[in-house]
Each structure stands twice: as C-alpha cells, then as structure tokens.
C-alpha cells in the first residue's frame, strides 16, 4: 500500500493520528461536551462538517493566499463556517443547540481544524484534503463517543435515556470535570498499552523472521 493513498490518509485520522488520544488536539470540547452521548454526536457531526468544508475551501485557495496573511484568512473561513453551523443548529435542532450553547462558537478555536488547515489542506489538493478532513473528523467523533459513553454510563447510569445501571450504583463524579480528565487519561492509557503491545508483537515477528532467514 502506498503511504499517500486516499485510504491511508483516511485511516490516519482515525487510528494513527487520532486527534484526541494521540495528537491531544481539541481538548476543550473533549472535556466539556462529553457529559452525554447525544452531545458528543452533535459536536462530532458539527466538527466533521466544519473540518470537511474548511479543508476543501482552504486547499482550493491555497495558491492565491499570501504566506504572510494565511492564518487570518484561515480563521475567517473557519469562523464563517462555524457561524453557518450555529444558525443551522438553532433552526433545526434547538434542543441540541441549547445543551451545547457556548461550545458551538468555540469550534472556531478548536485546534484540530486550524491544525489540519495549516498542516494538510494548505499543502495538498482538494480531494485529498476532503478525505483528510472526514477522516480526522471521524477520529475526533470516535474519541468524543468513547469518552462520553463511559462518562454517561458511570455518572448517570443511562445511555441515551435507557437506564442500564441502577441509580444507586452510579458514580456522580464522572459527570464533573474531574471525571472527564479521569476518563480521558484512562482511555489514553489503554490506547497506549494496546499500541505498545502491537509494536512489541511486530518486533517479535520481525526478529523471528530474521532468525529464520539466517538459519536458511
């Protein structure tokens, strides 16, 4: 597989460079909005939309914009996209809008969006940028979903209105900021353990193959 193939760009955002568990970008919504799975889905979809659009637009204008003023230009594009998203949410999903409120305009300053614009979209064509935007967005959403799943389950005992753990056995600390940091830390730790495990296995396999070829 070529390192630059579209499929590779797509999966990079989900696994190898997951915005939340590997790059640690966009921590503000990851800690603030993840009190419930519904919020996480709303935020995830919003970020995917903004990321896709901003990546495409920025990669289209990348040759016109001057080096010196690129950051303000990117910010203006991202901010107008976020304003658009906010208006749409206010019009069609008012409940979700009310439960997320200040975090929607804050998508503008979400590091992952400007980060992808600067690191990827300003150097690659529109198709690749679009794929990268969707991949990163999905990776971001997976992170939000994982954190919010554990927080909602342990903190309130219910997932999207379905009571799974009896209320007497919930641990309310997980709905607070402390719980957000704990969940994020433990999940990142688990991801790291898994990656190290995979790496070790790969090295063992390579060593075994080397030994085999030496014997042969």
């Amino acid at each position: 597989m070529k390192t630059n193939s579209l499929f590779n760009i797509f999966t990079t955002g989900i696994f190898k460079e997951n915005p939340i568990f590997v790059l640690f970008l966009g921590m503000c919504p990851a800690l603030g909005v993840t009190t419930s799975v519904t919020n996480a889905i709303g935020m995830g979809v919003g970020v995917i939309f903004v990321l896709l659009m901003s990546n495409v637009i920025i990669s289209l204008i990348r040759n016109i914009v001057m080096e010196e003023i690129r950051i303000p230009v990117f910010i203006v594009i991202i901010a107008s996209l976020v304003t658009l998203l906010e208006m749409f949410m206010k019009a069609y999903t008012l409940d979700l809008y009310n439960s997320m409120k200040v975090f929607i305009p804050l998508i503008t300053v979400n590091c992952i969006i400007l980060g992808r614009a600067e690191a990827f979209a300003s150097k690659n064509g529109p198709v690749k940028s679009a794929v990268d935007g969707v991949g990163m967005g999905i990776g971001f959403m997976i992170g939000l979903l994982a954190i919010s799943f554990f927080r909602e389950l342990l903190g309130t005992g219910a997932i999207m209105g379905v009571q799974i753990i009896p209320v007497a056995f919930t641990i309310p600390i997980f709905t607070t900021a402390v719980g957000a940091f704990l969940t994020l830390g433990v999940l990142t730790g688990v991801m790291m353990v898994y990656q190290n495990y995979k790496k070790d296995n790969k090295e063992k396999l390579e060593k075994a193959q080397e030994a085999k070829s030496e014997v042969a």
Partner: protein, 355 residues
C-alpha cells in the same frame, strides 16, 4: 542539633521495607480491633459488624485489583504473589477503611462506596505509577478524596444516643463553636475516649497513640513527622485563639478531634511519599499542619487532613531539592530554614484572621 540522613526506603538502616510493612500492618490491625470494639460500645452489634464489613471489603478489593493488574501485565505465576505482596495492598485497604465513616446503618450503600474508592486508591493512587515505591500520592489518601468528591451524600456518620449530631469539627464551624463543643463533649473527655462521631479510625485516640509509640520503637516511622505536625497544629491553634477569647481548650479540640492523629501517624509517615532527610521531614510536617489548619478554620470543609496530605505530597520533590546534600555541617542554616517555614505558617494564620 544533629540531622541524620537516611534514604527511604532505608537501605542502610537496620530495618528493611518488609519489616516496616509488617509492623505497620500489626499496628493497623491493633487499631482496627480497638475501633471494632468502640463501634460495639457506641452502636451495638450492628456497628461492629458494619466496621468489620467495611474493613473486609476494602482489603479484599485492593488485593483483587492488585492481582488483576499484575495478571494483565502478564506476570509469571511464581512472581504474581510476590509482586502483590511487594505492593502491600492490604495496608492501603486498611488505612482507607479506617478513614471511612460507618454510613447509614439501615442501608448498605457505604460498602459500595468502599468498593469503588478502594479501586480508585489502588489503581489511581498506586498501580498507575508502577506500584509501591513509585507513587507520588498517598494511595489511601487518593481513595478517601475520591470517596469524598464522588459520594458526599453516602458518607454519613450515624447519630449516637444522647449526643448532639454533628462531629466536633463541624460543630466548631458554627457560632460559639468552642463552648458548644465543650458542652456537648464533656470538656473533651469524650474526645479522648472516642465517644463522638467520626470515621472508624479517627476516634480511637488512645489506640492511635499506643500504635504510634509501637511504630516509633520498631523504627517503622520517624517520630519527628507526627510530633511536628501535631505540635504545629497546637501552635497555630494558640495563635488563632489569641485573636478571640484565649483558651487552651481550643488546642485540645483541634488536636483530638478529626483525623489529625490518624493522618499524622499512618498516612503522613508513608515511607514512599516522604522527604528523604530529617530537615525535609520537619518542613513537610509544618506545611501539612498549616494547610490542615487553614482548611479547618477558613474553608467550607470541616476537616482538611486528607487534602492537606495530598497537597503536601505534591511538594515533596521540591522539599527534597531544597534540602538535598545537606550534611551535618551548617546546622545553623537548617535550623534557620525550619524556623522560617514555621514563621511563615504562623504569619499566614495571623494574616488569615483579617480575610
């Protein structure tokens, strides 16, 4: 004044970590038994059964978490029990259980609280850092703080027949707190004999003092830490009461009530989270006392021992850096640094009178 230098966990001293841990375990068992008897006096059979259950749940949970963790780390079968023993999960469990209250005697919610906070203590307090010897914070303190933040409502102390409800330190926070405390608790005789509300291990003052003396004789703990911590609290209480109606009873109430003696003897002296030398230990104990006293008198919580222990644990690397490489030369400097720390503590207590 001479300062002895000993690196924890005391490679060169006559006792090794194993012996220290076995004497601490013995002392904890003694305190637990005393506490179970006391709970029988206060609440009857239900009280002592509940105390035994809390202790059992905490110890079994910490040990089980340890086993599962090392199993997941793929430790070989022969090493498994050795690793778990090295981690002393039983001590963490026992200390945690002794800092918890009995809870509502009618329901068993407190056992669930014990279970969850024991997992937090062992996992987040100890194993995440790599096990016993690498932890920054006192594991039992982490568990207790987790319990307080997560389950504030369930941590109730059942009322004792013929006594006003609130614990002495909570009563102190009200208006005319001191006179009320002295009236309710018969001029602190009931504080000494533990006839008041408190956590399992807090109220057994006599047993705690016997255990402390035993641990000092066995060289398991350094006597300067509890002595300096409790002494500083007494000093700060004098300073504090000098601004109102001066009374020595104030000192007795501050020293005898709450988790101060338990925390100073069993949690503050944890060999892993201690500064390396005597001078550092004295500064460490003074800062602990200052934070505890400020939380007790100025913050919204009645008791601050656990949080003070965690905060002062955070400062240990700094204290160690400050007091590194000190030999027996330049004693004047060391005494000066201790006096300065104590002076700052007193000054802050004075300043906080006007806040």
């Amino acid at each position: 004044m001479k300062f002895k230098y000993s690196v924890s966990p005391n490679y060169h001293s006559s006792v090794d970590t194993k012996q220290i841990m076995s004497s601490v375990t013995k002392a904890l068992i003694f305190v637990s038994l005393f506490s179970i008897v006391l709970q029988y006096n206060l609440y009857g059979m239900a009280g002592s059964i509940r105390a035994i259950l809390i202790l059992a749940v905490a110890m079994i949970t910490t040990t089980a978490v340890d086993y599962i963790y090392w199993k997941l780390r793929k430790t070989s079968k022969d090493e498994l029990s050795k690793k778990v023993n090295q981690n002393v999960p039983i001590i963490t469990g026992m200390i945690l259980a002794l800092t918890l209250p009995l809870g509502d005697l009618a329901s068993y919610e407190i056992l669930y609280v014990t279970f969850i906070s024991a997992i937090a203590a062992e996992l987040f307090g100890k194993l995440i850092y790599g096990g016993f010897g690498y932890n920054i914070f006192n594991p039992a303190g982490v568990g207790r703080a987790f319990a307080l933040l997560a389950f504030g409502k369930q941590l109730v102390i059942p009322a004792i027949d013929g006594l006003a409800s609130a614990s002495p330190l909570a009563t102190m926070q009200g208006e005319n707190g001191l006179t009320e405390v002295l009236n309710t608790f018969n001029n602190y005789s009931s504080l000494i004999f533990g006839v008041h509300q408190g956590a399992l291990g807090e109220t057994v003052v006599i047993a705690l003092i016997i255990a402390a003396v035993y641990l000092v004789i066995k060289q398991a703990i350094d006597w300067v830490i509890p002595v300096c911590a409790i002494g500083t609290i007494a000093l700060l209480a004098i300073v504090d009461s000098a601004f109102g109606t001066f009374s020595l009873d104030f000192i007795m109430v501050h020293v005898l009530s709450g988790g101060l003696i338990f925390g100073a003897v069993f949690m503050l002296t944890d060999p892993v989270t201690n500064p390396l030398n005597r001078q550092g230990k004295i500064i460490y104990a003074i800062i602990f006392a200052l934070i505890t006293f400020l939380i007790r008198t100025k913050a919204s919580l009645p008791e601050g021992v656990v949080f003070a222990i965690l905060i002062v644990n955070m400062l240990v690397p700094m204290i160690d850096k400050l007091t590194a490489n000190v030999t027996n030369e330049g004693t004047g400097k060391k005494v000066l640094s201790i006096v300065v720390t104590l002076g700052i503590a007193v000054l802050m207590t004075v300043l906080f009178q006007f806040v």
